[in-house]
Symmetry: C2
Amino acid sequence: MTLDERTRMLQAQGLQDKLGDAPHAKAAVRLELRLLTCTHLIEQRLGALFRETFETTLARFDFLAALDRKGELSLGEVSRLLMVSNGNVTGLANRLRQDRLIEDAPGRGDRRAQYVRLSTNGARQFKKMATAHEGWVEAMFAELSEEDREDLMRLLDRAKHSLRRETNGEDRS
Amino acid sequence: MTLDERTRMLQAQGLQDKLGDAPHAKAAVRLELRLLTCTHLIEQRLGALFRETFETTLARFDFLAALDRKGELSLGEVSRLLMVSNGNVTGLANRLRQDRLIEDAPGRGDRRAQYVRLSTNGARQFKKMATAHEGWVEAMFAELSEEDREDLMRLLDRAKHSLRRETNGEDRS
DNA sequence: CCTATATATTTTATACTTAAAGCATTCCGA
DNA sequence: TCGGAATGCTTTAAGTATAAAATATATAGG
């Protein structure tokens, strides 16, 4: 059973997700659970679509998107942009290199650094994926009005700042 | 370097996350990226706190929370509540059983099903974790006013319904 | 009763992710 | 210039997650 089917069942049965009946939880916790559930739904859906359509994953797409936007990056820069560990980036880069979607961008002085960029084919593949991705995401948020989207964006921005402050300690430089 | 340190650096350098400068992306995509970034920050922060404080993980906490709320569940029910695959649940259950945090709840007829519940120790441990978790999450959303939280909750609710509809196809029963 | 089908879980193979330890290179201060 | 600290990356071990196939049990129809 795939997760799409699983979600279908969930609704069919009238079962709730983990947030479903947590009416006694504090407001912040309910907010957290709701946020995680939404992200979970998005990631599972996009993951399935990327797999079925392009035989790839969200992690790979994010890596390629970073290169598409920035042109050429060291693995450390990718790690910081995607906010994932350096070891993770090493593995992803190896697999993407294997698939000839990225290639080495030879030396810029620092011999420790590992610079990579999209290959010609990688850029072509990415463009297709990005177009599809945009359509998929648009469909997912189809029920939200323009105003809802703006409000949600603004509130998530506030949430992000709150989260970053807490995450980074109190050094509000 | 841990991810907390990584995030610190990101801010120190003035680098943006993957959303940072995607001003040309469509509204829905920017919304998606913002949502994923927020969840990412929450999960990494909570993950670090759970690891440092209780030597455990968010996935285990979620599993225990489901049992705490429902009392006794089959693995399939856990799988549906947490919206993760059944194979994943099998592995988590094995590890939690190994640590004596959950125990088998012997047969209720169906010999295919694997019912589990919190052990006495598991319930005790969970209570401690839940208390800490609540405080951590509260701190993370500290900057949001009561009104912001309500607005965000309402909008996420709308988003969730939009996502579910899209995910489940058009069967609006 | 028997058989086909559905359900519940486990197994397998693979990918993603992390923390921590290790290696190589660069940088910086004495 | 020399030596230690910082930086960039890779490796390692473990956990998390999935899809798909396999196994075991239950259920329903004939």
